[in-house]
């Protein structure tokens, strides 16, 4: 994959739908990027559509992770969108309500509202591009969102990047991050229960500069990925970690999905740093071997699936 060539770009004037849209054409990749706000309600979503210059053969909706993980994966998802578009797929990335450039109040965000947003994005993509088939990609918590949204689209393939499998375990990890931060910066050592109590009382806690809200916490704590995984799908599960072997929770997930009739491909990409760690040393994603491997694996799999399969949304 060539994710580096951005020359030969031209701007295509104002977008087709609204003068407030941003549009650019990429002559090298033969794609068009369009950024816009969309959605039916008062609070609109920010979206970015990457599409081929010709008719797209299918569509993909990308469900992003949240907070620190969003920052860590943002550029990867942009590169994924552009590369999938260069293979003939229309890709929609979006920001959840209450996050990023979208409207809305972060304190109102719940797992259900995120799924609603993913469905809004999916329906928008189908309506605007006329695609007949669709897949979803979800990263970390976004995988939980993508899995549930995929239930609405019969036969849609699903790509999971290092998915959260157990909501409660994820929330414990978030609380632990807060504890580590407090210990490092103030020497305080409150218990996990005290932090959860603070979350309930104040409505949020500060997790390394991100507001972690009660509404999301309450909606997320009993979620399990396996419960939302649609049956009989093509699934690509990619683990991104320091581990050489697939983690036990993913081995179990793969087994369960196969038992429910899904065709699961799995891949382990060994990254240089853990997902939650923002490396001090800057290195552009375009130069990271692990990012190249991740994009290649995802693009080849989705492109292969849509090229060989006639079924879908």
């Amino acid at each position: 994959l060539d994710v580096t060539d951005t020359r030969g770009l031209t701007v295509d004037g104002p977008g087709s739908d609204s003068p407030s849209n941003a549009v650019r054409m990429d002559a090298a990749l033969r794609i068009r990027d369009e950024a816009f706000f969309f959605g039916p309600g008062r609070d609109r979503l920010f979206g970015c559509l990457h599409r081929p210059l010709g008719e797209p053969k299918a569509g993909v909706v990308v469900c992003s992770p949240i907070d620190a993980e969003l920052r860590r994966h943002y550029r990867k998802e942009v590169l994924l969108g552009r590369n999938l578009a260069s293979r003939g797929l229309a890709v929609l990335r979006f920001h959840y309500r209450g996050g990023g450039h979208s409207d809305g109040d972060a304190s109102q965000v719940t797992h259900d509202s995120m799924v609603e947003d993913a469905l809004t994005a999916s329906e928008w993509l189908v309506e605007k591009t006329g695609i007949g088939r669709m897949g979803l990609v979800g990263t970390r918590w976004g995988a939980m969102v993508a899995a549930r949204a995929a239930q609405r689209f019969e036969g849609a393939p699903l790509v999971l990047w290092d998915p959260i499998v157990d909501g409660a375990a994820y929330l414990r990890e978030v609380i632990r991050l807060r504890l580590m931060h407090l210990l490092k910066h103030s020497g305080d050592r409150p218990s996990s229960q005290a932090l959860v109590q603070e979350l309930h009382d104040r409505g949020f806690i500060d997790v390394m500069g991100d507001a972690f809200h009660r509404a999301f916490y309450e909606s997320a704590s009993d979620r399990r990925l396996e419960a939302d995984m649609p049956a009989g799908r093509a699934i690509l599960l990619i683990q991104i970690s320091l581990d050489q072997e697939l983690r036990g929770e993913y081995v179990d997930l793969v087994d369960r999905c196969r038992r429910s009739g899904s065709d699961v491909a799995k891949r382990n990409i060994v990254a240089d740093v853990p997902w939650w760690f923002r490396p001090v040393q800057w290195q552009p994603e375009e130069r990271r071997a692990s990012t190249g491997e991740l994009l290649d694996a995802t693009v080849d799999w989705l492109d292969g699936w849509f090229s060989s399969s006639g079924v879908g949304a």
Partner: protein
């Protein structure tokens, strides 16, 4: 007059040509009578304009309620922009990106600008403000006063060497714990780096006869240009950040003389906690309040960027 914060309906999205690349930006339009000035937000190195806890989005939209046009952007190679950002060096600010954006806004008939930047973005704002006469206000949050590459090995060693005095370093070296640590290869290498950095600073300072030779000459030159042009400037630091300690040390030298000469033109605020090294929601909110209050205060007396102003005749050396 303060109006409501902007929402997506008050915003335009754009891919803006900047050199070989396209910089992605979001412009919030004023929700009240426009003051005729655009605030351009320059993020920290590698950070997306959608930001850490959306602080740039929130700030940008609330400034629209003060009558400012407000533009947040992704540097080339970051988030939704095109290109590759190979390196973030403080002595190589992304002026091409900023110039592209200012030109784009200028094309809309707005030719007065306020630059608001964080860390690398603050240094980029400073460099751009120094060369662009249409910049009339500058807010610099946590700008490092040294030049280094983001995340470069040894950057922390120089930082320690700047902060710790020679006699303190000698005292620390003679501690039993330090002696014991010398058997640890990793720690030994760390000590050697700090010692080398300290020697470099001391010898460099002696050679140039300037004890603050570690302070970026570009930083001083650009700050001097802003003072000469009478550009109101706000510095914001977190009191617990190392960049604040370095700023305080730098003030003991040429930077201090420059700020004294600037008088009320330059405001320096340090807030409790950390803005840069370990950010919290409280410090983010306080920073946002400070910027909003300061820009609110200055919207009535916005200097015209193109207006010629008398120099104050500063001599740094």
């Amino acid at each position: 007059v303060t109006g409501p914060a902007a929402v997506s309906g008050d915003e335009t999205l754009a891919y803006i040509p900047a050199g070989d690349d396209f910089v992605f930006g979001v412009l919030s339009y004023p929700t009240v009578q426009p003051v005729g000035c655009a605030v351009v937000h320059l993020p920290a190195g590698g950070a997306a304009s959608s930001g850490h806890t959306r602080e740039t989005v929130t700030l940008s939209r609330s400034l629209a309620g003060l009558g400012y046009h407000s533009m947040r952007l992704d540097y080339h190679g970051v988030a939704d922009s095109t290109g590759i950002a190979e390196v973030f060096r403080l002595d190589q600010p992304f002026l091409t990106d900023v110039n592209g954006v200012l030109k784009w806004i200028d094309g809309m008939g707005i030719d007065r600008f306020a630059l608001v930047g964080m860390c690398f973005g603050a240094r980029t704002a400073l460099a751009a403000a120094a060369q662009e006469p249409h910049v009339g206000l500058a807010v610099l949050t946590s700008p490092p006063v040294r030049d280094f590459e983001m995340g470069a090995a040894g950057g922390w060693a120089t930082s320690t060497a700047v902060e710790v005095r020679g006699w303190q370093l000698t005292k620390r070296t003679l501690r039993v714990e330090t002696m014991r640590n010398l058997f640890d290869r990793k720690k030994r290498r760390r000590y050697v780096r700090i010692a080398k950095a300290k020697l470099g600073l001391v010898s460099g300072g002696m050679r140039k006869r300037k004890p603050d030779s570690w302070v970026s000459s570009a930083f001083l030159r650009e700050m001097s240009a802003l003072v000469e042009r009478h550009v109101p400037t706000l510095f914001i630091y977190g009191a617990e950040d190392k960049f604040w300690r370095e700023f305080e040390l730098a003030r003991q030298g040429r930077l201090g003389r420059l700020l004294t000469a600037a008088g009320d033109l330059v405001e320096v605020v340090s807030i409790p906690g950390s803005i840069h090294d370990g950010r919290s929601l409280i410090t983010q909110e306080r920073t946002r309040e400070l910027i909003t209050e300061w820009l609110s205060r200055h919207r009535t007396d916005l200097p015209k960027g193109s207006e010629s102003r008398s120099a104050v005749g500063l001599q740094l050396d």
